[in-house]
Symmetry: C3
Subunit: 454 residues, 3 copies
């Protein structure tokens, strides 16, 4: 303990110089409050804002996109999402009562419908009350419950898009379990991870501990594709004589799907397996976010044994959320990786690498959409073939395809990854009823064709 | 859970538009720190700042009007209210010792009298010490104990008004129990409630639960009067063959009294019953306040069974202060109503209604006084008939006065409310010794006269 | 409780006027973040930043001089002090793993050497990876472990001074116990106390309670000296027929030593006893600081019975750190005195007295050094005789020297104090091997000479 040695490489240490080169955050993509460019952009879309189980007999207070709002359910059954405060004297409606119709303020009993219409003003002279009921409105947002999630649209009423129905909302045999996970940081650093195909190998496998399957620790061959609002990253790995293609996707601005968490390690064939979650990253405010999602269980999703609250936490980020600091240090998950960047990360301080291509593209696309909106051009909505659901791709395919003797296996994997993704995308031309069978049949045909070519 | 229905009235929802119309707070009436217009205005009056029982063997640190101060009591007995920090090296006097005379700083032993005079500077050469003792002064404020409350005057010494003695300080047979209640919000939204005559019917009766007497759930006929610095709101209710007149009052800037909390439900006659509390709303800083008061027990106040800490909390706001969030949501009291507005409410976002007349008048009066002071005109002090106490009115009168067959009972109640208030105000012409008997006799005579007119 | 008395001396109370005369803090000496003048000044010196025992298997996150950094130890053994965030995607290295060589980021496995060199970028194409490894560097600082403390140099690499070795680091028979103590306030108000010779008599003896020895309650005769970067305050007290000279010292900017805490009360002779601690006051940020030190135990230090965590807390500040508010009020220690000034004290509000001479000089010297540095002149480093340790003085000497009958004992004490300090300083001319024996012999000779002169 007593030795005096020259400090290692003092001359090479650049802490002092580098501490002077700190940059500022990226407000264009990280500020989400009312009136900010990115906040306005996000307000052009439907977002999940809570779980149905959050809403009981009393109103539920929450913050979304930097705005404090109250979610409630009438005793009858309709949901309402309204501004926090009664326009009369600004008492918080979290203390109001849920009525057969609407919500009643605790302070003076004013009653508001789910659309914010002022229905009753007790204790005021009728001639004044009727004028108040015409002129005063509580801020409200369209809201709907869907399979245990509560979705809202917080943008301009005249721009309201149809509620988007994705294929993933109704896959035969799949059970959807709603969950939400808090992140104490800006939404974008949570979102980034979906298009970061190699953090799985490090954070979730090699470094922290094996959080999903051991095979994820293998770095695969990366692929990348864009289609409309969809950005897709693939990771193709060899597992003995099998080839495992994992597809992660983002549909702008914040819809995410990935491969399975626990369902596959590449050792068994799997054709067009689907995502472990159907998930949105939703800003609470600039410094906090929710991942709100269904975890997907069934033959084409994750094994039903994980269909618990803890299971959903593991699927979301590889580790339980509520842990000691020491546990977090020894076994970090996505929360540690993303929250550790600080409340709002600083893009200009990063050094993006080739594996970050998806992230870079996503930010460019989003920045363009935000700037377009500022310039008056509305952002696009996800589209679907006429009369069909919006198509998504996240999931895994594993085919039998031994390495070719003397061949360049990396090139071979790249080719297979591209072809499998092409087949899955080609499924879009089919109707909801036919598509999955068609894709699976094509994948099997391709597998057979490879065997023949061997 | 699976149905897809069109979101209710999406087109009527105005959350998006209304979230862009947020206004700013009202600094003229809500900023209370040193040097602010409203802070200066409030510093022209004596205010209670603590309970005598807050002050024990060690100094008591508190914040009042945005300033950190130390309240202490000499071992002899005098109270002192001084600036937080010793002018020598700025050690906090909360760690000082209470001496036979004055308070001694823990760091270097400097001793200060209750008026801030520097008495001792040990360890300094005498010639320097004597100069220090002449030139250095600890900030101090005049302070006095009165029936268990500690009052202070924090304004300019040359403007100090006489300590105001109200009639309510010494009503025969009345026991005063000191209490204080914290509100985590601006003082004005706590104060507002005293002139809000119908929140009692909603918050305290119909919506949360019956916190006082059930009869308060009835909306009565409102009356209103101003007299000097006094603003009075009356609520006159019919209870079977009785008429119950409840008088709430504010004496500017922050003296409040109300009707009884538990003593009457209007079923028994009561002549010139007095307030459930004699109470001041005192700013801690812009975002926190105290209600500091005596709860008043006795035949003309509330029943002595409530003379406990819990009883005082119920009298103050209808519910206990320290409760779970769920209890607060299910049974809100004044703390939830006022704190729920946010730390500093935004007057410009309100929509005041006819029942808010008293609040509107109070703010106008206060705003005028604040502006007058900025313009150099000192605000008025409460006045009393020569040699008498300052007269207050808060309380209840219940007289037997059955509805007139075929008559307009609302008009009748209005007439009775006005007459009862007139009688009580007319009592001002009498001396302290005669007044109450005179008012009670007049009320009884009026009751008899009504019976005859029947 | 009911009496009404005129508030004492209301007219003399100047709280109102004085609350308008508040000044602002002293940014030149209290702001310590990267790029601030004082921060730059402090970054010219080695500072202890942690205890070796803080660093285990996982990285240790800390803040020093307003900068968040990570201290870690390779499994091999070298320490590294690096910027908090990986330059790739800014994941926090507190979740990284300590490797045989360097630290590895949890998110994508980038590996950094202790000097910040990027060693591995797994998952990136080799041609890109090699460019990244050349161009990207993690901020790092030279760091060394020394007897259980971790020292770092956070300034410009080309200005790195030699690691300063003080005499106190290796006194024969002395055991050094590392400790650190948190202060929730600016560093300077913690540092000030070392040159405040009379707070010991008040805070640590007369007012709080006797925290060290009772004799410290006696105010002594003060002396003062400057030598190079060293500022020394002496306190000379008579204890019966003995004279006790206590030497406190600061070596700029933040090295402090004092007399013994428990070893002497002046009743037994002691020749050139040494400091109770060898201690640095190190800013965490503008509002928090560490005292990081060795407590010194042995015949010339404090008695080994205090060699515990609690003992170190008592030596540091007279009381344990983790106490209830009531205990702190009744028995304040240095933490209460310094933290009670507020997070950043306001020098312009102080009224310094003659006993604060050392504090005033220290601030002048420091202010000059800060301004010199802004003007381009590097601050001086502590110097040592060629080939020897840097000499320090903190400690106690007690000699037998009865008061002279009929003489001016205060003048006598002053003369002795000065002479003893002169002898100790004269020891600088001797080598490390000879110095202590020489000083002790001279002190004894002086004691004998005084006895003869009696």
């Amino acid at each position: 303990m007593n030795q005096i040695v020259e400090p290692t490489g003092a001359a090479r240490c650049q802490g002092y110089q580098l501490s002077k080169q700190r940059n500022a955050p990226d407000p264009e993509l990280t500020q989400v409050g009312p009136g900010t460019p990115c906040g306005e952009y996000l307000r052009r879309y439907w977002h999940p804002v809570a779980l149905a189980e959050d809403v009981g007999e009393v109103p539920y207070k929450l913050r979304i996109l930097g705005e404090d709002v109250i979610l409630f359910r009438e005793r009858g059954g309709r949901y309402g999402l309204v501004h926090q405060r009664c326009p009369h004297r600004l008492a918080s409606l979290e203390y109001g009562t849920c009525e057969d119709r609407g919500i009643r303020c605790c302070y003076h009993g004013w009653l508001f419908d789910v659309d914010g219409t002022l229905l009753e003003t007790p204790g005021q002279p009728e001639e004044v009350g009727s004028k108040l009921r015409e002129s005063v409105q509580l801020g409200a947002y369209p809201v709907r419950e869907y399979k245990g999630l509560i979705f809202a649209y917080m943008g301009p009423p005249e721009k309201i898009p149809p509620f988007p129905i994705y294929d993933a909302f109704d896959i035969p045999g799949m059970t959807l379990m709603p969950y939400k996970a808090p992140f104490h940081c800006n939404w974008l650093q949570v979102l980034d991870a979906i298009l970061d195909p190699i953090h799985t190998s490090f954070l979730h496998s090699r470094i922290s501990r094996v959080q999903f399957t051991e095979a994820l620790g293998e770095l695969g061959v990366l692929g990348f594709a864009e289609r409309g609002m969809q950005i897709v990253g693939t990771n193709t790995r060899r597992v003995n004589d099998n080839v495992w293609i994992r597809v992660n996707e983002l549909i702008l601005p914040n819809f995410t799907q990935a491969g399975a968490a626990f369902a596959t390690d590449g050792t068994k064939v799997r054709y067009f397996g689907r995502s472990s979650f159907t998930r949105w990253v939703v800003p609470i405010d600039d410094e906090n976010s929710w991942a709100i999602a269904w975890a997907c269980f069934g033959e084409r999703g994750d094994p039903p044994q994980w269909m618990t609250r803890e299971g959903c936490e593991l699927i979301e980020q590889g580790e339980l959320f509520d842990r000691t600091y020491e546990e977090k240090q020894r076994h970090p998950g996505d929360a540690e990786a993303t929250e550790g960047m600080g409340r709002i990360t600083v893009h200009a301080d990063e050094h993006l690498a080739p594996s970050d291509r998806g992230i870079a593209v996503m930010r460019q696309r989003m920045r363009k959409a935000v700037r377009d909106l500022v310039a008056g051009k509305e952002p696009p909505q996800p589209t679907a073939p006429a009369g069909q659901t919006i198509r998504s791709l996240g999931g895994d395919t594993v085919i039998h395809a031994p390495a070719r003797k003397g061949g360049d296996d990396e090139a071979f994997l790249k080719e297979i990854g591209k072809k499998v993704l092409d087949i899955q995308m080609a499924g879009d031309a089919r109707s909801d009823a036919e598509r999955d069978d068609w894709v699976i049949a094509e994948l099997k045909a391709y597998e057979k064709q490879l065997a023949v070519a061997q």
